[in-house]
Symmetry: C2
Subunit: 319 residues, 2 copies
Amino acid sequence: MLFIPKFEDIEAAMRLIGPHVHRTPVLTSKQLDAISGARLFFKCENFQKVGAFKFRGATNAVLNLTEAQRAAGVVTHSSGNHAAALAHAAVMRGVKAYIVMPSSAPEVKKRAVEGYGAEITFCEPTLAAREAAAAGVIDRTGATMIHPYDNFYIIAGQGTAAMELLEEVPGPDAVLAPVGGGGLLSGSAITTRHMAPAAKIYGAEPLLADDAARSLRTGTIQPALPPRTIADGLLTSLCERTFSVIRNNVDDILTVTEEQIAEAMALMWTRMKIVVEPSSAVPLAAVLANRELFSGKKVEIIVSGGNADLQKLPFGQKV
Amino acid sequence: MLFIPKFEDIEAAMRLIGPHVHRTPVLTSKQLDAISGARLFFKCENFQKVGAFKFRGATNAVLNLTEAQRAAGVVTHSSGNHAAALAHAAVMRGVKAYIVMPSSAPEVKKRAVEGYGAEITFCEPTLAAREAAAAGVIDRTGATMIHPYDNFYIIAGQGTAAMELLEEVPGPDAVLAPVGGGGLLSGSAITTRHMAPAAKIYGAEPLLADDAARSLRTGTIQPALPPRTIADGLLTSLCERTFSVIRNNVDDILTVTEEQIAEAMALMWTRMKIVVEPSSAVPLAAVLANRELFSGKKVEIIVSGGNADLQKLPFGQKV
């Protein structure tokens, strides 16, 4: 039996994490409305703590630990935003955080996780090595594994971004979120089905990592593809828990090319003046690539994060 | 006799332009506070219409035209933010805008000014050619010249950003603004002297364009240097009007290297998740380079604009 959050669980998460997360702004842009032909509202989780929505789920997971679990600490394996989010959420609540990272992870990410006060265990850059290293930490410490998306409290926490968005801007025709492992999309879908039942719900995904779109089409979870997209937050595959929510609630998953992602990202940087990571530009790219779905509509987008690597931008060159 | 705005003129500008400009947010960053050792408040004019504070002054200038002037239109020569700001401010109020631009200006800036509905006159990329072309427009149309900073209403309009900032966050120990021609710094200084008389007021300038600092030191206006800094909004020299305000109100002008500007810009992009142009990072660079002045202090910074050219960034490389 899969435990899947209901709307009430997302409300509970909101009450619990509310004092600890930023209520991020919802931004609009007349220029992007003109370019898209839609009325766009952007829930800007790039301004969230640690620069990504992941801090919501991580905080909810940490605040739902039992006393015994708190004492033993938490562990995850990730080199991305979830690692930083869990590190920060745990350490700020006095809980020890163990993060397993591939030794090949960018220096800046290692320093960020260290800076939040987590203990890093390095391993080879394979999933098997990560899982083995995490299992070693658990054997040694009794820490609780907090999976980045295959976790009841993580999904419930991620759903609070859509809750704030729909409270502030009710009545959308469509809500979009990027989809990697599906934690954000699942949480957003549960919230949206309850608060805006008439809205269409879309996931947005790079064509080079379209496992979620193919999972929805085939009815079985498709594995992740080799990491080739610039949207490096969207490389993971769905799990049964997120797939179950998505197939029951999401209208479609829209795929976009790398060029469309880079163009949408540049539009958000130059017109909205906000720094977003490539994954965050995927929903806007999907809106621009599917005018027949969104023209004239009230469209709400979850902007997932702002941790773009300035050394690896899909445009420009160093002067 | 130089007509120089008093605080009452900035209040009048605020009343007049208030309905037409964005009241931009004041952002803070715990990470930048930790890095700087100061309490920093950023007035984010990168979110202003046309992406820069220049829209404030331009709107004030247009709204103070006489009926006869409105009928004949306005003209300026610029390839920067003032051109776009004047074009947008004029055309949205039903006033014809003539913009003289060097034919060498970036395509994106030409398209922006055209997009606002202005009539562009191209000329050779020299100051003499620009002035001749503008004179030609005036002869032909009777349009009113709106100088980017040597103008009473422009300075008064630019002073409204500091007014909103000091209303929202009163009692700073220091206020900083970048200085090019001195319109923003003059307006900010007049406002700050009135609303926060105890605050220190600093201009911030690239070392490669330190004409304002040398003007203050020598007591006479120094000409602009050849355009070598990445802070391309700060290339112009002071005029008698702005110099007079600055020498009477500004405590010092701090200069920073290109490396310091690029580092401060990267910090604002990666920690605050906002897109700012290089000129806007100059005050933060000055704070970081002068810890003895700002440590432990409440420091308020005018972020001048967000029109960074993604093709010419001082960091990273295309992937």
